[in-house]
Symmetry: C2
Subunit: 270 residues, 2 copies
């Protein structure tokens, strides 16, 4: 790449979160930075889009640096769509999201606005990387992350794989710089949240619920993001938006699921 | 299955939508039905969950039938979590979602609350089917869908594949009963929305945006859901929550992406 890259930055913790400020600071070293990010926290918003109401998107200046910034009333996915459609001077060379305050490893990928933003970019044919630090604290230390963040983005920008759009979900353990052992390319661990709801009563006696839960890693193998993070590595999971389960697809076809269905259908129902 | 199945029903159009009423009517023929669905439309909400505010969930009776019903202030995924955790007498035998007013084929899967509900059920190890009719009209005709819906659910309930949790995204063309040619097991077509935003000014002169867009099918092959639907078939796409892109994962490993990274990293950055 000869021209200066255009870098789209977003997140789901909101445009003033320290995690995105750290990311903006790093990206300013690598290209022309356009920040289009939610004007409020959007954790757990997943791939939601705003269809039935309007969006505001206003130019702002949050802190020092060469970046151009817009805060948007919508979701992270709205931010990516609006940035590409109406704000950026051309299609960006990369979209980065985060640095999220807290893990987006394994099944958390499904609920994460940070990750959904990079998936949306990949639908648009834009390479993208989501970064998350395993520290929920607003005052989390993003310093150990910065050089890895820069290096991963540089790899994607300057060493593209021909005809492949790379979409990476990167999680960084809460460790000091010298404690991070390196990087592992991983698959998404099989995990889930074991939900419970904290049932309470409002001042008028009406029942309400708070979602609480316990994270369960059901996958003890060593090729997963959970394993990498527990063992001091940064995890990188390449991800995609094709949700087709080809194993089941081929199984259903080989079992003649459809043929059986038609027979059964005409035999018993019609 | 000897005992009467427990069927969890939800959607994203809201508990009073004609599509879910049609689904409830059909499911009452097959088992003990528990409806836990949003109290308002939630189209485009994706896999969002409610983390930072409270949920209400109230017992209601919307229409006739043996179903038990609750309306929830949260998202479709919240409904599934709350149903399993606090409402149902035991883990359901199946979760069905829909019938959605409008397509959830191909890339629409990412934005759909209807589909996210069945993905959440699959994370919980529950077989699940999402149904969508290619008709946005509130007064859409769900009659041609009903017998297919019943038959697909019966197949999953009474012909499970050992050790596999089946999650199916089913789309039904807007056709008369006799025009539907049958069922195709498909993969998710490669498609996207080409976004544009309708830019307007509020009464105080401030800019706001409406999301609009044009659907683009980039995939002309005959094994996709888009092809099936355009050619008069019901499409069934088996889906999954593992977003790992194994092709890219293996490629990155074979290219020694990680090794190169470490070399470059220590050589130029530290």
């Amino acid at each position: 790449m000869n021209k200066k890259p255009i870098i789209l930055v977003t997140n789901d913790d909101g445009i003033v979160a320290p995690g995105i400020r750290a990311l903006v600071h790093s990206m300013n070293l690598l290209g022309d930075v356009y920040v289009v990010a939610p004007n409020k926290p959007q954790s757990g918003i997943g791939h939601a889009i705003t269809m039935n109401t309007i969006l505001y998107c206003d130019s702002v200046k949050i802190d020092n640096g060469n970046q151009k910034e817009w805060e948007c009333s919508g979701t992270p996915v709205d931010c990516v769509k609006l940035a590409i459609s109406d704000i950026l001077p051309r299609k960006p060379d990369i979209c980065v999201s985060g640095i999220n305050h807290g893990s987006n490893s394994s099944i958390n990928i499904m609920y994460s606005g940070t990750v959904s933003a990079i998936i949306e970019a990949s639908i648009e044919g834009i390479p993208s990387v989501g970064f998350s630090l395993l520290d929920f604290d607003w005052n989390a230390d993003f310093e150990p992350s910065k050089k890895y963040v820069c290096q991963i983005v540089k790899k994607i920008l300057y060493n593209p794989i021909p005809e492949k759009i790379i979409t990476l979900n990167v999680n960084i353990p809460k460790l000091k710089k010298e404690q991070i052992k390196g990087i592992k390319i991983c698959r998404q661990a099989d995990s889930k949240w074991k939900e419970s709801f904290d049932k309470r009563y409002n001042p008028k006696g009406k029942t309400y619920y708070w979602l609480v839960g316990e994270f369960l890693n059901l996958d003890e193998k060593v090729d997963t993001d959970e394993w990498a993070l527990k063992n001091g590595y940064i995890s990188i999971v390449p991800i995609q938006f094709d949700l087709t389960n080809y194993t089941i697809l081929n199984l259903l076809k080989s079992l003649n699921f459809f043929i059986l269905f038609v027979f059964f259908f005409f035999g018993y129902i019609v």
